[in-house]
C-alpha cells in the first residue's frame, strides 16, 4: 500500500469544491497520477478539468477531501505551496492569461526568479527551456508579435524553466494547427522520455488514445473512471456512455475484427498509422 502511494506522484482523494456562486467545481473526485506517466483528462466543457488542475497546483483548496503530493497530504502554508508549485507546473489554456512580460526571455525567467535562484542559474535555465521548445530565435522578440503557437511554447518554457516533476497542460492543442500540434506532441514526448509526469486536459479522444498511458474521464465535476490506455478497446461501450465519443482507430479495428480481419494478437493499433501497418501486413500476406 505504501509502495503504491509513493508510485503515485499526485492524488486527489474524494475532493469536493464549490465556487462562490454555488456552482459545483469538483464532486467527490478521486484520481491518482502515476509517476512518469502521461495522463489525459477527458471531459466536456465545464466538466471540472481546469478546477481539478487548479487543485493539483494548490491554487484552489478543497472544501472536503485531500490532495496528496508524493504520498504526503498537501499543506497550504506558504512554504508548502511554494514546494508544490515548484514541483507541479501548470500551463494555462490561453497564453495571454499566463504571459506577463512583453519580453519572451523575461517572461520565461519569471518562475525561476520567484524560486529565489541565483541570476546565473536563472539565465542558464531560461536558455535551456527556450532551446527545449525551439524558441531561442524568438527570445528577444516582443510577446505580442508572436503567433498563438509560439506564445504557447513560451508558456511551456516558462513552466519548464522551473524544472517541475509534473507538467499540467490545460487544453494544449486548442487553437493550434496540425503542424503545431505535431510539434507540441514531439516536445511533450521528449519531456516524458526525460522522466517528466505529464497531465493534459483535452476533448480529443483520438489524440488521448494515441498519446496517453492512461485516460481519466470527468463528468459534472466527478472523476468517473480511469483506464490504462491498453484496456480502452475492451471498454468502448463504457467510454461511449460518458458522451465523449470513442477512438476512431479502436472502433474501426473492432469492426474489422468482427468482420474476419485476422488480427487478434499483438497490441491494438492506437493511431491510424498503426492500423495501416496492420492492414498492409495482412494484404501483403494474402498476395
Amino acid at each position: 500500500m505504501k509502495l503504491q502511494t509513493i508510485n503515485h506522484i499526485l492524488e486527489l482523494k474524494d475532493v469536493s469544491f464549490r465556487y462562490p456562486d454555488g456552482s459545483v467545481g469538483l464532486d467527490h473526485c478521486s484520481l491518482s497520477i502515476k509517476r512518469g506517466s502521461r495522463t489525459t483528462l477527458l471531459g466536456a466543457n465545464g466538466a471540472g478539468k481546469t478546477t481539478l488542475f487548479l487543485h493539483l497546483n494548490g491554487i484552489l483548496r478543497p472544501e472536503s477531501g485531500t490532495v496528496v503530493s508524493g504520498g504526503i497530504p498537501l499543506g497550504y502554508s506558504r512554504q508548502g505551496l511554494n514546494t508544490l508549485r515548484s514541483r507541479v507546473g501548470l500551463v494555462f489554456q490561453n497564453p495571454d492569461s499566463q504571459l506577463f512580460s512583453a519580453s519572451v526571455r523575461e517572461d520565461v525567467s519569471f518562475g525561476p526568479v520567484n524560486l529565489g535562484l541565483e541570476p546565473q542559474t536563472v539565465r542558464e535555465r531560461v536558455e535551456e527551456a527556450l532551446k527545449s521548445v525551439g524558441m531561442t530565435d524568438c527570445a528577444d522578440k516582443p510577446v505580442h508579435n508572436l503567433s498563438y503557437g509560439q506564445k504557447k511554447r513560451v508558456c511551456i518554457a516558462g513552466v519548464l524553466a522551473m524544472r517541475p516533476e509534473v507538467m499540467i497542460l490545460d487544453e494544449p492543442m486548442a487553437g493550434l494547427d496540425v503542424a503545431m500540434q505535431a510539434e507540441l506532441t514531439m516536445i511533450l514526448d521528449r519531456f516524458h522520455a526525460e522522466g517528466m509526469t505529464i497531465i493534459i486536459a483535452s476533448h480529443d479522444m483520438d489524440f488521448a488514445y494515441q498519446w496517453s498511458d492512461s485516460i481519466a474521464v470527468m463528468v459534472k465535476g466527478g472523476c468517473k473512471a480511469t483506464w490504462d490506455v491498453k484496456s480502452i478497446p475492451d471498454v468502448l461501450e463504457q467510454l461511449a456512455a460518458h458522451g465523449l465519443g470513442i477512438p476512431k482507430v479502436a472502433e474501426i479495428h473492432q469492426f474489422l475484427i468482427s468482420n474476419g480481419f485476422p488480427d487478434k494478437e499483438g497490441p491494438s493499433p492506437r493511431s491510424h498509422q498503426d492500423l495501416m501497418r496492420k492492414l498492409a501486413a495482412v494484404l501483403t500476406c494474402r498476395t
Binding site: 519580453s103 525567467s109 519569471f110 526568479v113
Partner: protein, 248 residues
C-alpha cells in the same frame, strides 16, 4: 504602434539602454541649460538628427510620431503668445500679440521641442521592456514598475480584443447607423470592462501558479558592450550640453 515598431527595428536596438538613457538625460540638461531659443532649437535639431540619421528612424515616421505633440505645442504656444483683451463694450474685444511675451514663448517653445526630441530619441530607439529594466536597475518603485509591465503587456491583449469585438459587431451591421454605432460602442465598453476584470484575475492565478507572492520579478538584462556604449553616450551628451552653452 509606430513607436513600438521603431523601438524594435532601429540600428541602435542592441545599444545599452543605460547609454541611451544617459544621452537622453544629457539632452534634457542641454535643453534646459540653453539660455536662448536658438540654443534650445539647436539641441532639438541635433537630437532629431541623431535619432533619424544615427538610429535610422525614417523621417516620415518620426514626424508622424511627433505630430500630436507638435500640434499640442503649437496650440499651447499660441495661447501663451496671444492674449484676449476685453474693453468696456463688446466692440472693444480684441486679440493681442504681446511683444514682451514673445521672447518667452519662443524660449518655452524651443525648450519644449528639445525635451520632445530627447524623449522621442529614447522612446523610438529603446523597447519599453528595456526601459523598464533600466528603471529597475535605477531602483524605481516596484509598484510603479509592476503597473508599467502589466499596462504595456495588456495594452496589446486588449487592443486585440477591441479589434476582434469591433470586427464581430461590424459583421452584424453594428456600425451601420449612428444610433447603432452608439449602441455597439456601449456594448464594446461593457464587454471590454468584463474582460479586464476576468483577465486580471487570470493573470493573478497564473502568477501564483509560478510561485509569485508579491512584486513581479524578472531576470535583469545584461549588455556585453555596456561600458563602451555608456562612455560614447556620455561623450556625446557632454558635447550636446557644451553646444547649448556655447550657442547661448
Amino acid at each position: 504602434m509606430l513607436i513600438e515598431h521603431s523601438a524594435y527595428a532601429n540600428r541602435w536596438r542592441r545599444v545599452s539602454p543605460a547609454a541611451k538613457g544617459i544621452f537622453t538625460l544629457c539632452g534634457f540638461v542641454g535643453t534646459f541649460a540653453a539660455a536662448t531659443p536658438a540654443a534650445a532649437l539647436s539641441v532639438a535639431a541635433v537630437l532629431c538628427a541623431v535619432t533619424v540619421l544615427g538610429a535610422g528612424i525614417p523621417p516620415e515616421r518620426y514626424l508622424r510620431v511627433a505630430a500630436p505633440a507638435l500640434l499640442f505645442l503649437t496650440v499651447s504656444c499660441l495661447s501663451l503668445a496671444v492674449s484676449l483683451r476685453i474693453g468696456n463694450t463688446v466692440e472693444d474685444l480684441s486679440l493681442q500679440l504681446a511683444r514682451t511675451e514673445f521672447h518667452r514663448v519662443v524660449q518655452v517653445c524651443g525648450r519644449s521641442l528639445g525635451g520632445l526630441a530627447a524623449l522621442l530619441f529614447l522612446a523610438m530607439t529603446t523597447p519599453l521592456t528595456d526601459i523598464i529594466a533600466l528603471l529597475r536597475r535605477l531602483r524605481a518603485p516596484e509598484v510603479l514598475l509592476d503597473i508599467m509591465i502589466l499596462c504595456y503587456r495588456t495594452l496589446f491583449v486588449f487592443s486585440e480584443a477591441v479589434r476582434d469585438t469591433i470586427t464581430a459587431q461590424s459583421a452584424r451591421l453594428g456600425y451601420a447607423t449612428v444610433r447603432l454605432s452608439l449602441r455597439s460602442l456601449g456594448g464594446l465598453v461593457a464587454n471590454i470592462t468584463v474582460q479586464v476584470w476576468q483577465r486580471s484575475h487570470a493573470l493573478h492565478v497564473a502568477a501564483m501558479a509560478r510561485n509569485n507572492d508579491g512584486p513581479l520579478r524578472f531576470l535583469e538584462k545584461t549588455s556585453p558592450k555596456s561600458t563602451r556604449d555608456i562612455c560614447i553616450a556620455a561623450g556625446g551628451g557632454i558635447v550636446l550640453i557644451a553646444l547649448a552653452l556655447v550657442i547661448s
